[in-house]
Symmetry: C2
Subunit: 247 residues, 2 copies
């Protein structure tokens, strides 16, 4: 695969919110990725009919929104907060819980990354669940792409990087994009190692072990399922709405 | 290779100086890596008999040291500074230039990382040129290891990561170490993709293209040569000295 065969727009991958200042690009669509589990859960919420998701950075804000009557999903370190309606398992965002509703959402890594990314031209949410939809949206939009991996407490993580590789591959294949970014090249290599069996590849990751320890690893297969939806969550003002594919 | 089969000490890899606060470990030996070209040049200097290397962060400091009569190697973005005796090509650190001398050294990424790393238990310099020596030193020391990739202006880079994978592999094979660090696991995977032909693997990296553009890529083969020396450069107070292997 020729990655430098200049398509029109460039792809960069940022491995941590703490590195965002060095990759920041006001012209780029920023794809926020937190595969286990925030970006997968956001897709699940829209699949099940949520009208809007309001990402908030702090638990204090989340608590205040709960007191105002919102439905609140909030967790830290994978564990649901006692004031919240549920945490960030995609399986909690059921039709019963979210259909037609505005959901306030606060997680360890994902929601902070969404706020950070808002300095870009547009912020969208990427997951395996909507990989093709995101890829088509980016090709249609015809701008630079910055894939922002939420990571784990500012550390690099394997599962977001692995997805960044999958998305980079889709974009490069379209011939509308190129990359000269070492993080994108490394992501592509990791994706190519594991793409035939993503769950087996992710087995070694720290987050997979963390989830297992807390008996939260029931979501692994779901979070690595491709194209369950054609929805791309897009940040409009301070909340996420579902952009549906029309083609 | 079983990476979680608990050896005594852990390995972590930090992909950028900007991520150092999240990996910082005062108990760890920190291995500073800047393969193209600072850590390779430092090894070359000691191979050719330099007595001491004084890493300085700013060009101002480097200039003042030049005025005091020191031999100064200084570059930014690969280009030698006009007040300096030479830049950071390993080929400039000849016996004629460095034998028995104290060299002041300031580079774009490498020397800043050395200062940062000084919060660890010990700082050493890692390159392919001294891979086995570094590995033996770490096994003998019997402490946690943090591999700090100098990267490129706080961005992730491929060549330092590739080396981090090579060193992680050596340490894991010794069975004295384990890792649960996603960056170390990713580095290992990248090393295993490219280890049979390191220069071919590094061909795609941004720094390789940068060096080529400035006609500075004559160092590629040298910087990827294994075990040209048994010296491990160690930071003592504010300068690097050559630790020789006695076994």
């Amino acid at each position: 695969m020729i990655v430098r065969d200049k398509g029109k727009n460039k792809i960069e991958v940022c491995f941590s919110p703490a590195l965002y200042p060095y990759y920041e690009n006001p012209e780029a669509v920023v794809v926020v990725v937190d595969i286990l589990r925030a970006s997968s859960a956001i897709c699940a919420a829209f699949i099940n009919g949520a009208s809007k998701i309001i990402p908030v950075e702090t638990l204090d804000e989340a608590k205040k929104m709960k007191e105002k009557g919102y439905i609140v999903a909030a967790e830290r370190d994978g564990i649901i907060r006692n004031f919240a309606d549920f945490g960030n398992s995609p399986f909690s965002f059921t039709s019963e819980n979210v259909k037609g509703k505005e959901i306030v959402y606060s997680t360890t890594n994902g929601t902070q990354s969404i706020h950070l990314a808002s300095s870009g031209y547009q912020v969208i949410i990427g997951a395996f669940l909507n990989l093709s939809a995101v890829s088509k949206h980016l090709i249609r939009t015809g701008r630079d792409v910055l894939i922002l991996c939420a990571g784990w407490k500012n550390k690099f993580n394997l599962e977001d990087t692995f997805y960044a590789g999958a998305l980079t591959q889709e974009l490069i294949i379209s011939r509308s994009f190129y990359t000269e970014c070492d993080s994108a090249l490394a992501s592509l290599d990791l994706w190519n190692i594991g793409k035939n069996d993503p769950i087996a590849y992710i087995e070694k990751s720290a987050q997979r072990h963390r989830l297992k320890k807390n008996q939260l690893d029931d979501v692994l297969e779901y979070c690595h399922t491709r194209d369950l939806t054609t929805i791309t969550p897009v940040l409009v003002d301070d909340y996420l709405v579902p952009l549906r594919e029309f083609s």
